[in-house]
């Protein structure tokens, strides 16, 4: 069995009319399997694809070839597994949160503790896989974009581990509000380039990384941090992150002898969520919930809920749900959590929303903050603000479920990076 998950079957038929007006996405027919995507052109239904400048096309085709070779190379899998085990500390525990379960009085709650990984989040899973691809491809320089700095730290970490120079593009606004992570990246030997173009946030950092890549095509590998971007990135990031869901499946089988009733994860670009969800997509009895950043509320401009409040468009190499105005200009996202602060979403999530397989809901800043504090006090775990969004949704749902039901939530990052921001919101002077 291919441990990377994707079942090879007939590619999904792309019956949608390409000239169909944007926004009027018709409901696709329920597919035989939710694991078949992407097709050869990188499409998940109408989403995904390869919308990039010609200069980058040959590079993306090379990457696809390299990834297909790696997928079929047992040695690649063995090496990655070694690193996952001894460098990252996988498998991460699946923890039964007994106190929180009792507190909420409903479903049994398990946390997948990817916050215990080396570097403090799930980001390392993807970075290790991609840097091994970079090595296979003979690339000698790594570039990455980062918002909160979690992906930047993970990219800088694997670059140090493999001995490559690493340049991290980070919006100027984010450089200012995430200074501890900036320093960590510098300690790890990365060069940080503050991006002033646009509003100086994650999407501008991604634009700038693409500009670097288009300029340094010979030696540079672009290590994208989430399951978005042009094909094959959404696929390969998903595959590297799917270790999360595969572990959950076998760990829960051991603990409970069955599958969960519900999975919950936060979605920014969507890499931790797709990593948890993907192995369960064809288990029809498992309800799946993705939680977006609702910011200050969806009625205003201050949120990041591309799936619940956006519309389909084309940005950063793929067609997906975006926050945009009526003229196709991309809006800035807002969230208390810089890691969810992206106006797009991985294309596979757009497809899973469209097909109805996954339910996506928003959680507001203040709800996430409350959940953050709850977990600190009840379980002695300081979560990152990103999974605090997932937690806030769990807090709403668990009490309505039976005690014999099971929820698994991905606790995808730890909160050390967020304590300064949280203290400010709580009016605590540090």
């Amino acid at each position: 069995m291919n441990p990377f998950g994707a079942v090879v079957e007939e590619p999904p038929t792309n019956a949608e009319n390409p000239e169909e007006k944007a926004g009027s996405v018709t409901k696709p027919i329920e597919p035989n399997s939710y694991k078949i995507g992407p097709d050869e052109e990188g499409h998940f239904g109408i989403f995904g694809g390869r919308y990039v400048a010609e200069t980058l096309m040959p590079l993306i085709l090379d990457l696809e070839q390299a990834y297909n070779d790696a997928k079929n190379d047992p040695e690649f899998h063995a090496d990655l597994q070694q690193l996952n085990k001894h460098y990252t500390g996988r498998p991460s525990p699946l923890y039964y949160a007994e106190r929180l379960t009792n507190h909420l009085g409903g479903a049994k709650i398990y946390f997948k503790r990817d916050e215990l990984n080396h570097t403090g989040s799930h980001k390392i899973n993807n970075c290790l896989g991609q840097i091994m691809l970079a090595k296979r491809m003979g690339k000698t320089r790594i570039i990455a974009e980062t918002g909160a700095g979690q992906h930047g730290v993970a990219a800088a970490t694997v670059a140090a581990r493999f001995g490559y120079p690493c340049v991290v593009y980070m919006g100027k606004t984010d450089v200012e509000r995430q200074s501890p992570n900036v320093f960590r990246m510098k300690l790890l030997g990365a060069e940080i380039v503050p991006v002033t173009a646009g509003a100086g946030t994650l999407k501008d950092a991604m634009n700038e990384a693409l500009r670097d890549w288009v300029t340094n095509v010979e030696d540079t590998y672009y290590l994208i941090g989430t399951a978005a971007g042009p094909h094959p990135y959404p696929e390969l990031v998903r595959d590297f992150q799917s270790v999360i869901g595969r572990e959950v499946k076998s760990q829960l089988m051991e603990a409970e002898g069955r599958l969960p009733d519900m999975l919950i994860a936060c979605v920014g670009g969507g890499s931790n969520a797709i990593g948890l969800f993907h192995p369960f997509l064809d288990d029809k009895d498992v309800a799946i919930v993705g939680v977006e950043a609702g910011g200050h509320g969806l009625e205003g401009e201050e949120h990041c809920a591309s799936l619940t409040a956006g519309s389909p468009g084309v940005l950063h190499g793929n067609r997906t749900f975006l926050l945009q105005d009526g003229d196709g200009q991309i809006k800035e996202g807002h969230s208390i959590s810089a890691g969810l602060d992206y106006p797009g979403i991985g294309p596979e999530h757009s497809w899973l929303k469209d097909t109805g397989r996954v339910e996506y809901v928003p959680i507001m800043d203040d709800e996430a903050l409350e959940a953050f504090q709850l977990l600190c006090r009840i379980e002695g775990i300081i979560p990152a603000l990103e999974p605090s969004h997932a937690l806030a949704e769990l807090v709403k749902r668990a009490p309505k479920m039976g005690k014999d039901e099971i929820i698994v939530m991905n606790l995808c990052g730890r909160g050390d990076k967020d304590v300064f921001a949280v203290s400010k919101h709580l009016g605590f002077d540090m």
């Binding site: 007006k21 919308y51 010609e54 634009n207 084309v314 196709g328 200009q329």
Partner: protein
């Protein structure tokens, strides 16, 4: 490849071929720094020496552009530019000029949101002759490139230094009007290209197509325009022109009495450079 009727682009390149000189292709962003000034600039370009005009459709996230064109797009968007206004500019321009080809250049999302069919129909009616959509590779031809051909609009493809022998036929397959050779790996307005290297690449492309080849990215001066013009059918200048606009603005970023002249003055110099070239490149 298309056997469709001749567009203004085809006619213009045929005429210049006869005249024995390359084309000067100028790029400005629609609505930069404001709609009225931008329209005035557009109307003054042919007289100043522009043979073909690329009109940029501003986008919030221009991934393949350098700082100069990014800022031009921001100025345009801040002054309220929209797709409808950009198409309106072309309609206005056509009232006084029925010969100079206009090519709309930009990114796919604003078109996709406008609606592909609606966009093509209105663009064709307004007098648009060609499209250059940076983030629509041949893999996505059925979305806009092939429908554009049905409306008699040329879809001009970019070929890059990374476009190797294997990929070139795919890039050329549905291209019409001309081929835009990106002279460097990089963003617009970056390092100046080396004419010798560019010449070899243009020759490589011309051996695979009968279309004219224009060269852009990094051409800023009359001398560079002349040197590139020696080895290509057209020279594209963009960043230098929008930089001239930027420099002419007042402290608040508003147009001044010098803004239009700043562009036309530079276009005149560039045209002189291009007009020094006298050659008949292989057809």
């Amino acid at each position: 490849m298309s056997s469709k009727k001749q567009t203004r682009i085809d006619t213009r390149f045929a005429d210049l071929q006869e005249a024995g000189r390359p084309a000067l292709v100028t790029f400005v962003t629609a609505g930069d720094p404001d709609l009225d000034t931008s329209l005035e600039i557009l109307k003054s370009l042919p007289e100043a020496g522009a043979d073909l005009i690329e009109l940029g459709m501003p986008f919030s996230d221009p991934m393949a552009d350098g700082p100069a064109i990014q800022l031009a797009g921001q100025r345009a968007l801040e002054s309220g530019q929209t797709m409808a206004k950009t198409l309106g500019m072309v309609r206005e321009f056509r009232k006084g000029d029925n010969d100079t080809p206009i090519i709309l250049m930009g990114y796919y999302n604003p078109i996709y949101i406008y609606g592909n069919e609606r966009f093509l129909e209105e663009a064709a009616n307004a007098g648009v002759d060609g499209l250059i959509i940076v983030d629509l590779p041949p893999e996505a031809d059925e979305e806009l490139c092939i429908p554009a051909m049905e409306y008699g609009i040329n879809f001009i493809r970019l070929a890059a230094p990374t476009t190797d022998e294997k990929r070139l036929p795919r890039v050329l397959q549905n291209t019409s009007g001309f081929v835009y050779y990106v002279s460097i790996t990089g963003i617009t307005g970056a390092a100046a290209p080396d004419p010798a290297l560019v010449g070899a690449s243009v020759a490589r492309i011309k051996s695979a197509t009968s279309l004219p080849v224009a060269v852009g990215f990094g051409v800023k001066t009359a001398e560079q325009a002349r040197a590139i013009g020696e080895v290509a059918n057209g020279v594209v200048v963009g960043s230098a022109l929008v930089t001239a606009i930027a420099k002419s603005l007042d402290g608040e970023g508003k147009a001044t009495g010098e803004t239009v002249d700043a562009v036309t003055g530079l276009v005149r110099q560039l045209a002189q450079g291009v007009h020094q070239v006298s050659h008949l490149p292989a057809a």
